[in-house]
């Protein structure tokens, strides 16, 4: 590319891209607009704790999501028929449900009043307002996103390479691990980015199921109510700074591959 630069249409294209990017960047300008008191704006201990909670919980959730979601994504990508449709519908449902509704349903199913919640409680695992509940809510929020995006990425990789790896002695799972996953890398990195974003940004589900320990979105919510608007902008900035590196790094890796 680049060497057959046809000046006019390229300028138009660049202008269009700039327009879309500026449209997306516009809200950020709000951060600097209305006299935010950046000097006095230090984060409270609770703010820092929420950052730790979000990052730790998010990372753990991503691990679980990768392990649970990847085989499911393979199944959805590599099969057809009505059972697959049903499975896909099941994956889509927690995602399509308004998060508030999902939170409510989770609290109904895993809450202390429900049999399942009681069973877990008997094992010492309380699934409301505990780190375990935070993890659970995050997984429910982000797993479907990962599965759907990863399904698309995997489906785009021709099966030929996987088959060839099998003729070279790899059982199916190993062929998928060594060949299909790397070949789906660019799509998978997008899937992971989206899941990470969803995991860290989830508010609706967490609000109901795991107000404690407070992650960043809940902390932000509390801060807005307690302190007003200007006061939370520093937290928003820190939020962006700590969450951006992961998807940026994933994007970079995908492009380098």
């Amino acid at each position: 590319m680049g060497w057959d630069w046809a000046a006019r249409s390229d300028v138009l294209r660049a202008a269009f891209l700039l327009f879309v990017l500026m449209f997306l960047a516009l809200p950020l300008s709000g951060l600097f607009a209305s006299g935010v008191a950046w000097q006095g704006a230090w984060l409270s201990a609770q703010d820092w704790a929420s950052i730790a909670t979000s990052l730790l919980g998010g990372a753990l959730a991503m691990l679980v999501i990768l392990l649970l979601g990847t085989p499911l994504a393979f199944y959805l990508a590599r099969h057809r028929g009505r059972w697959v449709m049903l499975a896909e519908a099941i994956v889509l449902m927690p995602m399509l449900m308004p998060t508030l509704a999902l939170g409510i349903l989770l609290s109904v199913v895993y809450g202390p009043a429900a049999p399942l919640g009681r069973a877990f409680g008997a094992l010492g695992v309380v699934l409301t307002n505990t780190p375990a509940a935070f993890l659970l809510a995050t997984i429910y929020a982000a797993l479907p996103t990962y599965v759907i995006a990863a399904r698309g990425a995997i489906a785009q990789v021709p099966e030929d390479y996987e088959e060839l790896a099998r003729t070279l002695g790899d059982p199916l799972w190993k062929a998928r691990l060594r060949v299909t996953l790397p070949l789906a890398g660019r799509g998978l990195s997008a899937a992971l980015s989206l899941a990470w974003v969803r995991a860290l940004g989830e508010f609706g589900v967490i609000l109901i199921v795991a107000y404690y320990p407070a992650g960043m979105p809940v902390q932000l919510w509390t801060d807005v109510q307690d302190l007003g608007l200007q006061a939370v902008f520093p937290l928003v900035v820190v939020f962006l700074l700590v969450t951006l590196p992961v998807p940026l790094w994933l994007g970079l890796k995908a492009r380098a591959a």
């Binding site: 209305s34 809450g111 107000y211 807005v224 109510q225 608007l229």
Partner: protein
């Protein structure tokens, strides 16, 4: 090691997170987890079993009654009160007029066609209802016919209704010029405000029957029927829930709010005394 969970009306956030809860923890060693949200929403979440706090602190009697009706608590103790005030934006072009306003002056500013008022959804948020009640009472008090209708327009007027968390934020940013709101919340956000007379501000239980009942709001129910509601005074109630994980600590918490230490903190954050009777 012990901890309790307290669900409270969203407007109490700063008081709870910075005042009462740390003080309670300091006094008893019991950690407090607070959940701040619209009181009616909390009441429904609690009565529906989606939330299991140990203590519930709503504003006004309505949400307390929902929880009691579900059989989850027996008694709601009044612990504080607040009043409706007029909060305005320091960036508003009406700011100087508000600042100079005395007596009924603010009603004239409110009738200015250029003013942008904000309020929350009266079908979902008690505060949104109280704005309409206060406007009606102001019309009666200042003898301005159909004042509320002129100022607020339709009950669900899209030009004025915003979600609760953004309302004060918008006021700060100058997107709306003024709103009516709980004094407690306005004070904690350090916004300029104008006090309203007792007959309008809905804070005095003594005026409940004689004055406040004159205000009413007719809302459409889901099933098509209509329901007329009257305001009860802006009293904060505390109720220990029967299914509390630690009933003793829950009771302790309620007692702390009603006690002298708690009341002092309420006062410091701009709340009034917990008036009226327990329900």
């Amino acid at each position: 090691g012990e901890s309790i969970t307290v669900a409270y009306a969203g407007s109490m956030g700063r008081l709870m997170d910075q005042g009462l809860n740390p003080a309670f923890t300091a006094a008893t060693g019991t950690a407090v987890h607070g959940i701040g949200h619209g009181a009616v929403a909390l009441a429904h979440l609690i009565s529906g079993g989606a939330m299991k706090p140990d203590v519930f602190v709503p504003v006004s009697a309505g949400p307390a009654k929902i929880v009691r009706a579900a059989g989850l608590a027996d008694k709601a103790v009044p612990v504080a009160s607040t009043s409706m005030v007029l909060a305005y934006s320091p960036f508003s072009k009406f700011a100087t007029r508000f600042k100079a306003a005395k007596g009924a002056d603010w009603t004239k500013i409110f009738l200015d066609p250029a003013i942008r008022l904000g309020r929350t959804d009266p079908t979902a948020d008690p505060q949104g209802r109280y704005v309409l009640f206060a406007l009606q009472l102001a019309g009666i008090y200042y003898k301005i016919p159909s004042f509320a209708a002129k100022v607020a327009g339709a009950v669900l007027n899209p030009a004025q209704i915003f979600a609760e968390p953004s309302l004060l934020a918008r006021l700060e940013a100058g997107q709306i010029d003024a709103t009516l709101g709980y004094k407690s919340a306005v004070v904690s956000q350090q916004l300029p405000f104008i006090e309203l007379p007792d007959a309008v501000n809905l804070s005095n239980p003594a005026l409940a029957k004689s004055v406040y009942d004159q205000a009413s709001l007719t809302l459409k129910e889901k099933n098509g029927q209509t329901r007329t509601i009257h305001p009860s005074p802006l009293v904060f109630y505390a109720m220990a829930l029967k299914a509390a994980s630690d009933p003793k600590a829950a009771a302790e918490y309620v007692a702390f709010l009603a006690g002298s230490d708690g009341q002092a903190i309420f006062k410091r954050y701009g709340y009034g005394l917990g008036l009226g009777r327990a329900i």
